[in-house]
Symmetry: C2
Subunit: 259 residues, 2 copies
């Protein structure tokens, strides 16, 4: 199976390497930027192009890993003259339907992870969410994703929207709680490093218990004494104080949920 | 060094076992509840009492691991007739000064972790925060904590207040972000298990990067398109929607911080 990678960012880089290791043939890399196209092509020992017209027409699968705005902008150009090809995108937030009317074989291959250049990705732990225009295309994606990870889920575009919201809470918003913690510590001369063990244990706990059941601390019992003291201590930072109060109330209001 | 444990909850249980393994002699356990006192005493192969008068007077150190309210209520009774003894409490939220006027030798030994009965605690990864009435008492606590963990920090009661707030953000509030994520997934028929890899990676990242630098997602670039879509999708749950908006704004406003 011959694959062309459209894009040369974090997702394309990590996914391209993993697919190559799994035995797939990476035919070519396309990127608008010569620098990123050539770096990734060298890494994969393959060719590259910076012109849409230069994208090869003999691939079995085109994997589009572009920013949402670039995907929308380039889509009509990418499919032109390649109406018989099989295209997928990797974006969690974009519906599959954007391909409709342009092609007959299309899909979504969404690996859900926070990719950064600094860190290696172990795809065996990354869940893949797939969706396709037909049963044959879905089979191709299931087999391909299955070679990278045991965690392959078929979801609709509608489910994927909520999956993305859920990921924002579990990743971006949880990370912001770390950031506010680091900020409070920094202001009082305590290194953030002291918090790492607690952060790790908090993450490990939800492997065994639903998060609602794992909850501890003053908010779950709405301990007004402790909460009141904390709000007073945060009086100099009204934004942080407001978040403290709203999240505490939300914890208390959610305590009876079973999920 | 002979120790009496006052309390038989999660902290007393985990700390008592670890101290015994480190070679300390656990003289006795006190708890108001016969059941919990006897269970912990049996675990430590030592004696117990459920009456304050029955607490032995020959210990070198009394470690008080009670709920905040019980600590305040029992303190005058605990110190009565033991004015020469060395007492410490393990509560992150209580100031050291509560001992003042009752005793001359006192302190705080605060192991910062989210303790639960279901999970073993590896004290080697748990930071201890210590504070004491004098240099000699501080030396005792530094040595004792140092036998359980390489991470021993001397902090003031003032710093400890903010440490507790920081822990609420990094642990309780981060866990609530997991809970809201689980709730969104559950409503759309997706198992929470799909989120674990992302949660783990998010926690691991801040071992290497300050959380502000590790931030990704729509809020950090204030992507109004994605944020607007997410807010619309959450319209049925005004509380969750409000938190989504406030946390996104807070992420954007904090993006230039260096800590």
């Amino acid at each position: 199976m011959k694959i062309v990678l459209i894009g040369a960012g974090n997702v394309a880089t990590h996914l391209g390497s993993a697919l190559q290791q799994a035995g797939y043939e990476l035919l070519q890399v396309y990127s608008r930027t010569e620098e990123s196209a050539s770096v990734l092509a060298r890494k994969l020992s393959t060719g590259y192009t910076v012109s849409i017209e230069g994208i090869r027409r003999d691939a079995d699968l085109y994997i589009v890993a572009l920013k949402d705005s670039a995907l929308q902008e380039l889509l009509p150009l990418l499919v032109k003259g390649r109406e018989q090809a099989f295209f997928v995108h990797t974006a969690g937030s974009m519906p599959m339907e954007l391909w409709k009317g342009h092609l007959s074989r299309y899909g979504v291959l969404y690996p859900m992870q926070t990719f950064s250049k600094q860190r290696e990705v172990d795809f065996a732990t990354v869940p893949f969410f797939i969706e396709a225009s037909g049963a044959a295309e879905l089979d191709v994606l299931r087999e391909l994703a299955g070679k990278l990870s045991p965690k392959v889920y078929e979801v609709t575009s509608e489910q994927r929207k909520y999956l993305h919201i859920a990921a924002v809470f579990a990743c971006n918003f949880a990370n912001h709680m770390y950031a506010l913690s680091a900020h409070v510590l920094e202001q009082h001369g305590i290194p953030f490093e002291v918090m790492l063990s607690l952060i790790d244990e908090t993450a490990k706990k939800v492997h065994e218990l639903p998060p609602v059941q794992a909850q501890t601390g003053p908010a779950i019992r709405y301990d007004e004494n402790v909460i009141g003291k904390h709000l007073d201590l945060l009086a100099g930072e009204p934004d942080v104080q407001e978040l403290y109060e709203k999240i505490s109330k939300s914890i208390y209001n959610n305590r009876l949920r079973k999920d």
